[in-house]
């Protein structure tokens, strides 16, 4: 086992790390965590608009990923698979906790995400993050996935389980709302 661990620890490639993690190697999973936590947390933070909730959701994603790792067959990149897990977790949390969305809207959202973002990235465009934080969750998710993460509209439709026309409409709406907000 120690030999396997040494082999796994020496690999930087996701495929090898995933294979090792599937075999129960927690060090390999640790390496996968280190590699992907930034993107996953960025999504969770932006979608919750709250540092603590964003971290909790990030934990949920990795806990679920570990538990479902056996179902990853390598048909797609691990990062895509993990992102799909993350989007599912985010969407389930949204459905389960409508109160959070209302709270963000009622509080204007601005006091939440920008503060969290400021702590982590001093150079971040706070006004832009602020405006994105005010978007309705569906439109926000599409904007993040498309304009920040670089997914195509078709990929987002698949990830979120919505029609591509809906994705496009939400993206356009999101940009329109952000622009309007910035112009105010």
């Amino acid at each position: 086992l120690s030999t396997v661990r040494r082999v796994c620890a020496s690999r930087e490639d996701d495929v090898d790390l995933v294979r090792c993690a599937q075999g129960g190697d927690t060090a390999a999973f640790d390496a996968l965590y280190a590699e992907h936590v930034g993107r996953i947390h960025a999504l969770c933070l932006r979608m919750t608009g709250d540092a603590r909730a964003g971290e909790e959701l990030t934990q949920d994603v990795f806990v679920r990923a570990w538990r479902r790792l056996a179902s990853f067959r390598g048909d797609s990149r691990f990062s895509s698979w993990l992102y799909r897990v993350a989007v599912n977790v985010v969407q389930e949390a949204r459905r389960a906790d409508g109160r959070r969305e209302r709270r963000v809207e009622l509080m204007g959202g601005s006091e939440r995400l920008p503060r969290a973002a400021r702590e982590r990235s001093p150079d971040v465009r706070l006004d832009l993050e602020y405006a994105i934080g005010l978007l309705p969750p569906g439109a926000r998710l599409v904007l993040i996935l498309h304009d920040i993460e670089g997914f195509t509209q078709a990929q987002i439709a698949e990830l979120t389980g919505t029609a591509i026309g809906t994705v496009k409409a939400q993206l356009h709406r999101a940009r329109r709302l952000v622009r309007r907000r910035l112009e105010q």
Partner: protein, 235 residues
């Protein structure tokens, strides 16, 4: 040419238009300052959004919390009387028992469950007493207590929701359970409820005994398993 619609501008920026349509829009842009300004503003916005960080590290290292949560779920998996039936497991089960779902089978299963539960209850009562008398004040897990308790609350909420949902399904089952089976089921559930109640009280009295959350979670897992079985029998 009429002005370019906003939707078309987005599609243009996203590279979703056919060459001919792109050329038509570009021709219009040369002649229309308004549309050009609109496109520039939109392009700048999209560019600024795209420049936002795609990675933001959490303020805290989440690995220890994730590891603890995985540890808890492993305990739950191991603590269940019988793991939740997967398709594979159902396929391996003798067809007669699955097909008939007979009260006899369910009675035996539930009676066996009752014995195991009583043993479990005795064991955990001993542990509760022991932790109260000998180990009081010494955290069993070397973990952050507040985080552990939050995690416990989180997991408990999920369990309670799943249990409530199963109880509803059970009430609406296609076939009511036989009286004898129902009685055994209720006895088992009562044992578990008592176990949960007493352990919760012990935990409330001393929240440093984080280990107690495992017993509570294991009891919830048992309860969920029993309800799942009962639901399968009734349907």
């Amino acid at each position: 040419m009429t002005h370019v619609t906003e939707s078309r501008l987005h599609d243009y920026l996203d590279g979703l238009l056919a060459d001919s349509e792109r050329a038509r829009i570009e021709t219009h842009m040369h002649a229309c300052a308004g549309c050009r300004a609109e496109l520039d503003a939109l392009a700048q916005l999209v560019s600024e959004i795209g420049a936002l960080p795609s990675e933001i590290l959490p303020a805290h290292d989440l690995r220890s919390t994730i590891a603890r949560r995985l540890e808890i779920t492993q305990v739950l998996d191991a603590g269940a009387l019988v793991p939740p039936a997967s398709d594979h497991e159902q396929g391996a089960r003798p067809k007669t028992a699955r097909a008939t779902g007979s009260p006899t089978v369910s009675r035996h299963v539930l009676a066996a469950a009752a014995v195991v539960l009583l043993v479990l209850l005795s064991v955990f009562t001993l542990v509760v007493q022991r932790s109260g008398e000998e180990d009081r004040g010494r955290p069993i897990l070397a973990l952050d207590d507040e985080a552990s308790l939050l995690e416990f609350q989180h997991a408990e909420t999920r369990y309670l929701a799943a249990i409530a949902e199963l109880e509803t399904v059970l009430r609406q089952g296609r076939e009511p359970l036989a009286a004898e089976t129902l009685e055994l089921l209720e006895e088992n559930l009562a044992v578990l409820d008592r176990a949960i109640r007493e352990t919760r009280a012990a935990l409330a009295a001393d929240t440093s005994q984080v280990e107690l959350t495992r017993f509570i979670m294991a009891s919830y897992a048992q309860k969920l398993d029993l309800l799942r079985r009962a639901q399968r029998f009734s349907s």
